[in-house]
């Protein structure tokens, strides 16, 4: 969490920048599987080509820059925020409801907390929320989708019917129900959202596995006696990575949005957590006269989601050449 009062992460040595270029040592793990060498290098060629195409897309680079800026703010939040203690319960009633000024860039809220500090301190939280939701949803979804697509038969039917049930109700509705049941709080909101976010990943992975499983190299692996787990993890899933990464990237922004929505409703983060959605809810009663309380957290959410959407859009072009021509 960005609000920690610990020391900054030690920066890389400055000397490193001026040292003569060296041949980078082999990456750990490489060469462990000589039989896959060819596939690896082809994959790396593709990656390099994709990277080039991504870099030549100005909008995606803008998104990446925005995200780097957000990461910078998140990491250095305690030094950027003039009043970091305002994010963890400090109040200053004497300075309540002040309009933006030099001292309080984004103004102050009803108990005198500095909005700028709270927005800055909330950056890391928003990133963490998105990361946890996407990683949990991907793990569950890819596992279920891979099993479903690979096994086929009744197991496939069963898992897909379960997935369909989740897909018949809009994610936000189920997320509200689950978070309400688990109890208010940011952790429960994250669990709730993850539990409704996986079906998309399951469907996607299943469709990828279904087509990959018919490939000759899978048959070959099976022929030389590879186990099911090895075939899934070493042969099928590595070839299904690109679409899954696209979905992770485009979904990241929307996961942050959904968490903010739960915070706004009052089910997510509870005070004094500097969660942007909850801050908007806080400022709602003072809008539009004290417009700054709700406006700046909203802009922060927008910046975060927009940067991920730009990156996701660019990645889609790079990794899925069919989508943009």
């Amino acid at each position: 969490m960005a609000e920690g009062h610990n020391h900054p992460k030690s920066l890389p040595h400055k000397e490193g920048e001026t040292s003569p270029p060296t041949i980078s040592p082999a990456r750990p793990g490489e060469g462990r599987d000589p039989g896959m060498g060819g596939a690896h290098s082809a994959r790396w060629d593709n990656l390099a080509r994709g990277l080039y195409r991504f870099r030549s897309n100005r909008l995606s680079m803008l998104g990446l820059l925005m995200l780097l800026f957000i990461l910078f703010v998140a990491v250095f939040a305690p030094w950027i925020a003039p009043f970091p203690e305002d994010a963890s319960g400090a109040t200053n009633v004497l300075e309540r409801l002040q309009a933006p000024s030099e001292k309080h860039l984004f103004g102050t809220d009803k108990i005198g907390r500095d909005i700028f500090s709270r927005v800055v301190m909330g950056t890391g939280l928003a990133l963490q929320v998105g990361t946890v939701i996407i990683l949990l949803a991907t793990t569950i979804g890819v596992t279920i989708g891979a099993i479903s697509g690979y096994a086929g038969g009744w197991l496939d039917d069963l898992l897909m019917r379960i997935t369909d049930i989740f897909l018949t109700v809009p994610a936000l509705v189920l997320a509200i129900a689950i978070s309400a049941a688990l109890g208010k709080g940011i952790i429960n909101a994250m669990i709730g959202i993850s539990l409704v976010w996986w079906p998309g990943f399951a469907r996607l992975t299943r469709s990828l596995v279904l087509s990959l499983r018919e490939e000759p190299f899978v048959e070959a692996a099976y022929g030389i006696g590879a186990g099911h787990a090895r075939i899934i993890f070493r042969h099928i899933l590595p070839n299904a990575v690109s679409p899954i990464i696209i979905k992770m990237t485009t979904d990241f922004g929307f996961a942050v949005l959904t968490a903010a929505a739960l915070g706004f409703i009052g089910l997510g983060a509870q005070p004094p957590t500097p969660e942007w959605g909850a801050m908007i809810n806080d400022g709602r009663r003072y809008f539009p006269d004290e417009w700054w309380i709700a406006t700046f957290p909203g802009l922060a959410i927008w910046l975060m989601v927009f940067s991920w959407n730009l990156i996701g859009d660019g990645l889609r072009d790079v990794l899925d050449p069919r989508s943009r021509r």
């Binding site: 989740f166 018949t168 809009p170 994610a171 509200i176 129900a177 688990l182 409703i265 709700a294 909203g298």
Partner: protein
């Protein structure tokens, strides 16, 4: 296989999904670590009062019995009661649902009217300025938290400019049209009451516009992608060769081919926007399912939440079936099987 049989089969297939959904919602409602009865009874309630409440709502029965009660009730039109208001959930849903349906439908229509042309223009001017503008705009707007943008728009267009009302479906002094469908626009038209129609349209516009932004990007993207694909088909080259005007080719032949994928995305968006409406309604004081859902979830009143989830499940399934039927109308090559 003919289409009537196909539709019947699809409708029949909703039932197992809904049973699964009811199990899911029931499971969610019963993992409540909080004490809904305690909350409903109030902090001073004695054990006896809580016990009586539990008995009243059947919460003292074993779980399987509770579930069987719940599911048989669902099919008989008894969707349970709110712990707080003691009103029938199904009755409440009937009251609130039309408002949400009207808002969502309007938003989907706006998103389609904005998104499809944007996608067509993007495809026609592929990788040129209009394409980039459409792409940036759609990503720009979809990235806003809808509830925040709703607040801003409400203030700008409602308070500062005074162009639109700031909330609700109708002014306090205007009587709603006699309820046939509960959709004020439809009901007032049926009564030929154009004044009420205009007023409710003005109330509807800003909430629906904000809600539609959530669907704008995906509709634009899919329209563009499928247009680009269709533009490269041989029939396009042939039509151009025999001298059919480009505009006619685009709108008469290419768009129709491209619309299949777009319609899928539009129908998916219907479900998403229905959920997004929950957030918009709280800002505009729109008396739909959203306000109802938020209030119920904050007070751990699970019967309404389960009801809303089941209702959303039914609506979404029906929309999916309708989508499949529209496919067949648009593309005669599609056979139902």
């Amino acid at each position: 296989m003919n289409i009537r049989f196909y539709i019947l089969r699809r409708v029949a297939l909703i039932i197992p999904t809904l049973i699964g959904l009811s199990i899911l919602t029931f499971a969610i409602a019963r993992i409540v670590p909080g004490d809904p009865v305690g909350l409903a009874a109030g902090p001073r309630a004695t054990e006896e009062i809580k016990e009586a409440l539990r008995r009243e709502f059947g919460l003292d029965q074993p779980l399987p019995v509770q579930y069987v009660d719940y599911i048989s009730g669902l099919f008989q039109g008894d969707w349970g009661q709110s712990l707080y208001t003691r009103r029938e959930v199904l009755g409440d849903l009937r009251t609130f649902w039309p408002a949400t349906l009207e808002l969502t439908t309007a938003a989907v229509i706006i998103a389609t009217l904005l998104g499809v042309p944007a996608g067509v223009i993007s495809a026609m001017y592929r990788n040129r300025l209009p394409d980039h503008v459409a792409r940036v705009l759609s990503l720009f707007f979809v990235s806003f938290p809808s509830f925040w943008l709703a607040m801003i728009f409400q203030t700008w267009f409602g308070r500062d400019l005074g162009w639109f009302p700031i909330g609700k479906r109708l002014p306090v002094l205007v009587a709603p049209p006699p309820a046939t469908t509960g959709l004020f626009l439809v009901d007032s038209l049926v009564q030929l009451d154009f004044e009420t129609f205009a007023v409710s349209l003005r109330h509807l516009f800003i909430p629906a516009l904000v809600l539609s932004f959530g669907a704008f990007a995906s509709i634009t993207r899919i329209t563009r992608a499928s247009m680009v694909e269709a533009l490269e088909k041989d029939f396009v080259r042939m039509e151009r060769a025999i001298g059919i005007p480009y505009r006619v080719i685009i709108f008469k032949y290419v768009l129709r081919n491209a619309l299949i994928a777009t319609i899928t995305v539009i129908s998916l968006n219907f479900g998403w926007l229905m959920a997004g409406a929950i957030l918009i309604e709280t800002i505009f004081d729109w008396p739909g399912l959203g306000l109802y859902a938020v209030h119920a979830s904050l007070s751990l009143d699970f019967q309404p939440i389960m009801g809303i989830a089941v209702l959303y499940g039914i609506v979404f399934s029906v929309v999916n079936i309708l989508t499949d039927i529209v496919y067949g109308i648009l593309d005669p090559r599609i056979r139902y099987g």
